[in-house]
C-alpha cells in the first residue's frame, strides 16, 4: 500500500520536474537576451537539484543528496559569475 503511494507520487513528481526543466530549457533557447538565458539556466539547475532529491526518496539512499548539494553550490557560483560577466564584461576584476 505505502509502496504504491510512494512510487506513484514520486513518478508524477518526477514528470512534473521534467516538464519544468523543459520549460527552463525552452526559455534558455528562445530567451531574447542574455539575462533571460541565465535566468533559464538558474531555474534549470534548481529543477535538476529537486529531481535528484526525488531520486533519493525513490531509491532510499542518501548518495543523491550529496549530488544535489554539489549541484546547488556550483549552480549558485555559476549564476553569480554570469551575472558579474553581464554587468562588467569580466568575472574577476
Amino acid at each position: 500500500m505505502s509502496a504504491t503511494i510512494l512510487i506513484w507520487s514520486v513518478t508524477i513528481a518526477q514528470l512534473f520536474l521534467l516538464a519544468a526543466m523543459a520549460c527552463a530549457v525552452a526559455r534558455m533557447v528562445i530567451g531574447p537576451r542574455a539575462q533571460d538565458r541565465v535566468l533559464g539556466f538558474d531555474a534549470l539547475y534548481v529543477c535538476a537539484m529537486l529531481l535528484l532529491l526525488t531520486f533519493g526518496i525513490r531509491t532510499g539512499t542518501t548518495i543523491y543528496f550529496e549530488a544535489a548539494l554539489v549541484i546547488s553550490l556550483l549552480g549558485f557560483v555559476s549564476t553569480v559569475a554570469l551575472a558579474k560577466f553581464l554587468m562588467r564584461g569580466e568575472v574577476i576584476e
Partner: protein
C-alpha cells in the same frame, strides 16, 4: 522499492503530499518563466520553485528518511539553508545586471539613472545652504 514497504501508511501519504506539492509549485514557476512577457516579470517566477518547491521536496525527504532510519535525518536542512541564502543573492545580482544593460542601451520601460538627478538635487541643496551661510554672515 524495497524500502517503501517498510514505511507506515501515514508517512507515505505525507511524503506523497509534500513531493507533489513541491514539484507542482516548481512546474508552475517554470511555466511562469516561459509565459511572462518581460525579463523583470520573469525573474519572479522561478523563486516559486526555490521557496516552496524546494521546501516541499526537502520536507518530504526529511519525513521519509526520518521514518526509514528511525532517527532524525536533518541533513536536508543544509540544502534548505543554502538555497534560502543564495537565491536572493543570485537573482538580485542578475536583475541589477539586466537593469544596467537596459539603462546603458536606453531601452523603453526602464527608469533612467537615478544618480544624475540625485547629484543635481545634492548640488542644489549645497548651494542653497551656502547662500544661507553667506546671508547669515
Amino acid at each position: 522499492m524495497t524500502h517503501a514497504a517498510d514505511l507506515p501508511a501515514w508517512a507515505a501519504l505525507l511524503t506523497a503530499f509534500f513531493v507533489l506539492l513541491g514539484s507542482g509549485l516548481t512546474l508552475l514557476g517554470a511555466i511562469g518563466l516561459l509565459r511572462f512577457g518581460s525579463f523583470y516579470e520573469r525573474v519572479h517566477a522561478p523563486t516559486l520553485g526555490t521557496t516552496w518547491g524546494a521546501g516541499g521536496i526537502l520536507i518530504a525527504s526529511i519525513i521519509c528518511f526520518t521514518v526509514l532510519q528511525s532517527r532524525p535525518a536533518l541533513h536536508e536542512i543544509l540544502i534548505a539553508a543554502f538555497v534560502i541564502v543564495t537565491t536572493p543573492v543570485s537573482l538580485m545580482l542578475l536583475a541589477r545586471a539586466a537593469l544596467y544593460r537596459d539603462r546603458t542601451e536606453n531601452n523603453d520601460g526602464v527608469p533612467a539613472f537615478e544618480a544624475e538627478s540625485e547629484r543635481a538635487e545634492e548640488e542644489a541643496a549645497q548651494t542653497s545652504s551656502a547662500q544661507k551661510q553667506i546671508k547669515g554672515q
